[in-house]
């Protein structure tokens, strides 16, 4: 499944990326959003984009368009 289909506050584990361009992939990996890391969607910002997520032990605001390109599994 992809991250956009996951409900808020449900812990998942990142499996990989699907269709992300190299720039976004490298940037997300640099930020710590790599396969194997735990992830929880916390909340939507007021304009519903970006989405605040807990990735490992840090909070990231991730553009909503990317969520459908991040593959995850239930943790």
């Amino acid at each position: 499944m992809t991250l956009d289909t996951v409900a808020m506050d449900v812990p998942v584990r990142v499996l990989g990326y699907a269709g992300l361009d190299a720039h976004d992939k490298e940037r997300l990996a640099g930020l710590g959003l790599r396969p194997g890391v735990s992830l929880v969607k916390i909340l939507k910002t007021p304009l519903r984009d970006p989405i605040e997520c807990l990735v490992g032990s840090q909070l990231l605001a991730i553009e909503a368009r990317l969520l459908s390109q991040i593959r995850v599994e239930a943790a």
Binding site: H23, D24, E26, R27, L28, A29, G30, L31, G32, L33, R34, I42, L43, K44, T45, P46, L47, R48, D49, P50, E52, L54, G56, S57, Q58, L59, L60, A61, I62, E63, R65, L66
Partner: protein, 658 residues
């Protein structure tokens, strides 16, 4: 050979706080060669030897993507070619060791001498994280120091790591990042990720609870500050406070400074014999100092607030909240604060663009910030609107003059957004530089750190931009003061002498004559002649030589436009000079009896002042921030051309419809 310690690390690891703690106020700022990226350097004494500390831009991985990240790697490669003794001190955070260790591990593999400072160790203890420094040092094969830059804990031990060494590390085999292939960097990154995970797993003991207390507290706060309803309201209130502080807080201090410096000029003028020296000091040098110093309160207040918001962790969240609405224009949430600050003054706005990590986005922000209606435009708008928008004009029952003033604010914003949209199709456009942003935990800002941050910003302005602004103020004074057209001035001076020599001089007559003298003086000066010379250029906009001179002099500061027009219309000595000027502009006639200035003239002036970069101080600040004259020259010429074209269009359209 000198010892150079390059501070490297991911953003939000407290790298700059550590830099400040190590160097104190022994800092200077410049730009890295050939780009707008700021290079902060400082010195510290270690074991009797001086060590140079360089604060490199934040770097997320071994795969540099933005100009800022590339600069860090380029600097290391350039350093490797010098005889300097280099040490890369990577700043990491215990709670994020897995990610933060990638850089030191990768740099060591690339052949660079690396040490690690695990920062915020006090916060890690509060989070229940235990770190075995010797295990970590053994695993990484490099020195590790546990520190808290905010409290000073562990800094003595860190000094031992930084001590100058007798022998330079061998960098002959180190990787030259300027020539490294993408494949090699990917290999380094992948190996470093695996090694960092192993080292972190072996040396860190995590608390039993699943979430760190600082993170769970931040999430609780975010549920309020990023709430769909409360979030925007809190953001609006915060920005309102920032705006108010800039206008209401800074204005009295600016007025006070301006008054005191003005009083000094009056005092000095009374002591000095009338002539060129008195004019140089009282009309050139002292106003030049004033032109620099008056900006300091705004800069100090703005950066106190920005520093507070940044250190508390709210600034990236504020950016995230507005990010979505700015994306269609090729911008992102980080441009919000510079744009907002520019409503007070473009100078702090341009300086606030430093908080934007992507170079291209920073340049776009710097280019567009001066389009926001700054406070210096208000006297110009007020004069023109009051003089030429009829008080009887009531669109939809509103006060027409107020509507036009509000429209001028909207016009600046719309122009900035339209130009941002146009820049999406130029080389300056960058796909959203980061599709994700780190939201650091909320922290209580440190007063000492905040004071250092504000001091550094103010000092950089005074020491760099201030010198040029002062010099240019003197040049403008010289243009307005020379040459002295004796033939033109002699009859007025004779009349004045008669008035002054009478037993009871008439103060009214004296004031009028002094006003005429000042008007004749500026008319005969180089500035006045330049105004006449360029009159044909501005004639299509409906301007005569007087307005052209006033616009030229407004390069010193936009509000000078009003003062210069006042001088030209011989109103310098009147107590109600602005009211007098409004009447003078309304009543001014051409030789054929037609009105010299009309609504169409006012429309073209309003549009021109809304767009043109009529402010030397801003131009100099842009040069200072971008490190070259290329960007300000491009900005000035582009905005001037656009302002001219739109002013011409508005002049012709207003003539047509009126």
């Amino acid at each position: 050979m000198s010892r150079v310690v390059a501070l490297a690390g991911r953003p939000n690891t407290g790298k700059t706080t550590l830099f400040n703690a190590l160097t104190g106020l022994r800092q200077r700022a410049a730009n890295f060669a050939g780009c707008t990226v700021e290079k902060a350097t400082g010195t510290m004494l270690v074991s009797g030897g001086e060590v140079e500390i360089v604060d490199l831009p934040g770097t997320f991985s071994m795969l540099p993507q933005t100009e800022d990240e590339q600069v860090s790697f380029r600097f290391l490669s350039e350093c490797a070619e010098t005889p300097d003794d280099l040490l890369v001190l990577c700043v990491v955070e215990a709670s994020n060791l897995e990610n933060d260790l990638v850089l030191p591990v990768g740099l060591k593999a690339a052949g660079y001498p690396v040490a690690v400072a695990v920062n915020m160790i006090d916060e890690s203890r509060l989070n229940g994280i235990r770190l075995d420094a010797s295990e970590l040092s053994g695993r990484l094969g490099m020195a590790v120091a546990l520190v808290s830059a905010r409290t000073g804990e562990g800094l003595k031990k860190l000094e031992a790591v930084l001590s100058p060494r007798a022998l330079r590390a061998d960098l002959s085999e180190s990787l030259d990042f300027r020539r490294a292939t993408k494949k090699r960097l990917h290999e380094l990154q992948d190996d470093a990720v695996a090694a960092a995970q192993r080292a972190a797993a072996a040396s860190v003991t995590w608390p039993r609870h699943s979430m760190l207390p600082t993170v769970s507290r931040s999430i609780r706060i975010d549920r309020i500050l990023l709430h769909p309803l409360a979030g925007p309201l809190i953001l609006a209130a915060t920005m309102f406070l920032l705006f108010q502080a800039l206008f209401v807080g800074a204005q009295p201090i600016m007025n006070f400074l301006s008054d005191q410096i003005g009083a000094l000029a009056v005092l000095l003028r009374a002591q000095l014999p009338e002539g060129a020296v008195a004019s140089l000091l009282c009309d050139g040098a002292i106003p030049g100092i004033s032109a620099v110093v008056v900006f300091v309160p705004q800069i100090a207040i703005l950066f106190t607030m920005i520093g507070f918001l940044e250190q508390s962790g709210y600034l990236p969240r504020a950016g995230a909240m507005v990010d979505r609405s700015l994306r269609p224009f090729g911008l992102d949430g980080r441009v919000f604060i510079p744009f907002l600050s520019s409503f007070a003054c473009a100078i702090p706005g341009v300086m606030a663009a430093r908080t934007i990590p992507s170079e291209k986005r920073r340049i776009v922000t710097i280019l567009l910030s001066p389009l926001m209606t700054c406070s210096a435009r208000i006297p110009v708008y007020t004069l023109l609107i009051t003089a030429f928008v009829p008080a009887t004009f009531h669109p939809l029952g509103f006060n027409g003059q107020g509507v036009v003033m509000a429209a001028m604010y909207a016009f600046g914003i719309v122009m900035a957004l339209l130009l941002a949209l146009a820049m999406k199709y130029t080389a300056l456009h960058e796909q959203h530089p980061s599709p994700a942003t780190v939201l650091p935990p909320y922290r209580v800002p440190s007063a000492r750190e905040l004071a250092r941050y504000v001091w550094a910003r103010c000092w950089h302005f005074l020491s760099r931009a201030g010198q040029v602004i002062f010099t240019l103020s003197l040049v403008l004074w010289a243009l307005a003061a020379f040459p002295r057209d004796a033939a033109r001035l002699a009859p007025i001076e004779a009349e004045l002498a008669v008035v002054l020599s009478s037993p009871a001089p008439d103060p009214g007559a004296e004031r009028v004559l002094r006003g005429r003298l000042a008007a004749a003086h500026i008319e005969g000066s180089a500035l006045g002649r330049a105004g006449r010379f360029i009159e044909p250029v501005f004639r299509p906009l409906g301007w005569d030589w007087r307005v052209s001179v006033a616009s030229l002099s407004a390069l010193a500061a936009r509000e000078v436009f009003v003062g210069t027009l006042g001088t030209i219309y011989a109103l310098g000595g009147e107590s109600n000079a602005e009211d007098g000027l409004i009447s003078a502009l309304q009543g001014a006639k051409n030789e054929n009896g037609t009105r010299r200035y009309t609504l169409a003239t006012a429309a073209s002036l309003l549009v021109f002042f809304a767009i043109a970069l009529q402010c030397i101080s801003t131009i100099v600040t842009v040069r200072r921030e971008t490190g070259s004259w290329k960007i300000p020259a491009l900005q000035f010429s582009f905005l001037f051309s656009l302002a001219y074209a739109l002013a011409f269009a508005s002049y012709r359209l207003t003539l047509f419809f009126s």
